[in-house]
Symmetry: C2
Subunit: 239 residues, 2 copies
């Protein structure tokens, strides 16, 4: 069950057996959420953090106007609300975009990690730092990229992140998002989202049908997106 988490952490630095078994002691329980359900709700003060084991989820905020904006997408192996360990109050919600299986880690036990296993603690910290790096990349995409480029960038990012946890198949992966949900990622209207997807399809960089995205020409896609994976901190080095 913890494989995707191990894969993510071990990607940045060596993860010792002792650390693995410590994580296995800290993360426990299990629960399923169906599409549209909140894994964590805005305003709550969770006493445990939620590890996404299987499925796709998203952080979001809702405005008075009713508009919704996703601020991140979460893939298997992500601690979706690890930040609540120290932030205490959730300033946003987290919703399941597909059937999600999760496990839990008590905040008291996470605190013990920071006290008894500082290296593992740093790896968890790093996890939240990569999160922030992704946020920054999204800000750049929203502010200064064309909409097609933004979408292309999202595809590149998701492909890499899913590949790390073994959720890609050759050059394709499953993307269960509706166009309305994608619109909430890019901050667009549904209608325009549809046209943007259309023009990405026309570029022939990807093949995108029935929730399966196949990257036909990575070179071209990365160029459209100006994609530079540095921000994902893929290097394995002492942290």
């Amino acid at each position: 069950m913890l494989e995707p988490l191990y894969l993510q952490l071990a990607q940045h630095d060596v993860l010792s057996d002792a650390e693995r078994s410590m994580l296995a002691q800290v993360v426990s329980g299990g629960k399923e959420f169906s599409v549209g359900q909140d894994l964590v709700s805005e305003g709550s003060r969770p006493i445990y953090s939620t590890l996404l084991v299987e499925g796709l989820a998203a952080r979001y905020k809702v405005l008075e106007s009713g508009g919704r904006q996703f601020t991140s997408l979460q893939v298997p192996g992500d601690f979706v609300d690890l930040h609540a360990f120290l932030l205490k109050t959730m300033d946003h919600g987290i919703v399941a975009l597909s059937l999600c299986r999760v496990m839990f880690a008590d905040h008291t036990k996470l605190r013990v990690i920071t006290e008894k296993a500082p290296h593992l603690g740093r790896l968890l910290w790093l996890d939240t730092l990569v999160d922030a790096a992704i946020h920054r990349e999204w800000i750049v995409a929203m502010g200064r990229r064309s909409k097609v480029s933004h979408l292309a960038h999202l595809i590149c990012e998701l492909f890499i992140r899913l590949q790390v946890v073994g959720h890609t198949n050759e050059m394709s992966f499953n993307l269960p998002l509706s166009q309305a949900e994608l619109a909430d990622v890019l901050g667009l209207s549904v209608v325009h989202m549809n046209r943007v997807i259309g023009s990405l399809r026309k570029s022939a960089a990807v093949n995108w049908a029935s929730h399966t995205v196949t990257i036909v020409d990575w070179q071209l896609l990365a160029q459209m997106a100006e994609f530079d994976p540095t921000y994902l901190s893929m290097a394995n080095e002492p942290r």
Copy 2:
């Protein structure tokens, strides 16, 4: 010199005298940067983190098109590249927006904090988590708020953050950004930025002249921005 840092950390939780003196040992040196200079440059691998003591700075990325996007603004007391302690490689640059005085903290010493002073380590971690929370709020603003609302939100955020470190005066503060720089925050063209500022001025919520912003009607401004300070984690509680 470390006052703004103490103020920021002590805002979230009690900061013991021992922790203060530990910080004083870790943070040392000093340097000045003039407007437009990079405090930290993209692609570098710093071996120390930079604490902003005085002045205003911004994280940014530049695209091939030449467009620039700021991903955060940094106020006194911010560790502008604390994330590089674990991310190792800077995926963006940090530029001085006014005359900046900074100090440095060796990464080796930061690591010692995580090993010997876990509570202080958590407070530093928290610092980066608040950073990420701000990023998320920016994403929402870029995606789903009107441009005036986005600008109003920025003003609210900056006012609170500057107030924490004692850099406000009644209801006003100094904002040394040119309209071109503000455009790089909101992701707009300079011309349109000018019109957005104009329409915020017309709202009479703020008085904005010669780089001094005075909030005339906080109630109205916060309402235009739909501003909810939860994400800044202002509460003082055990972390």
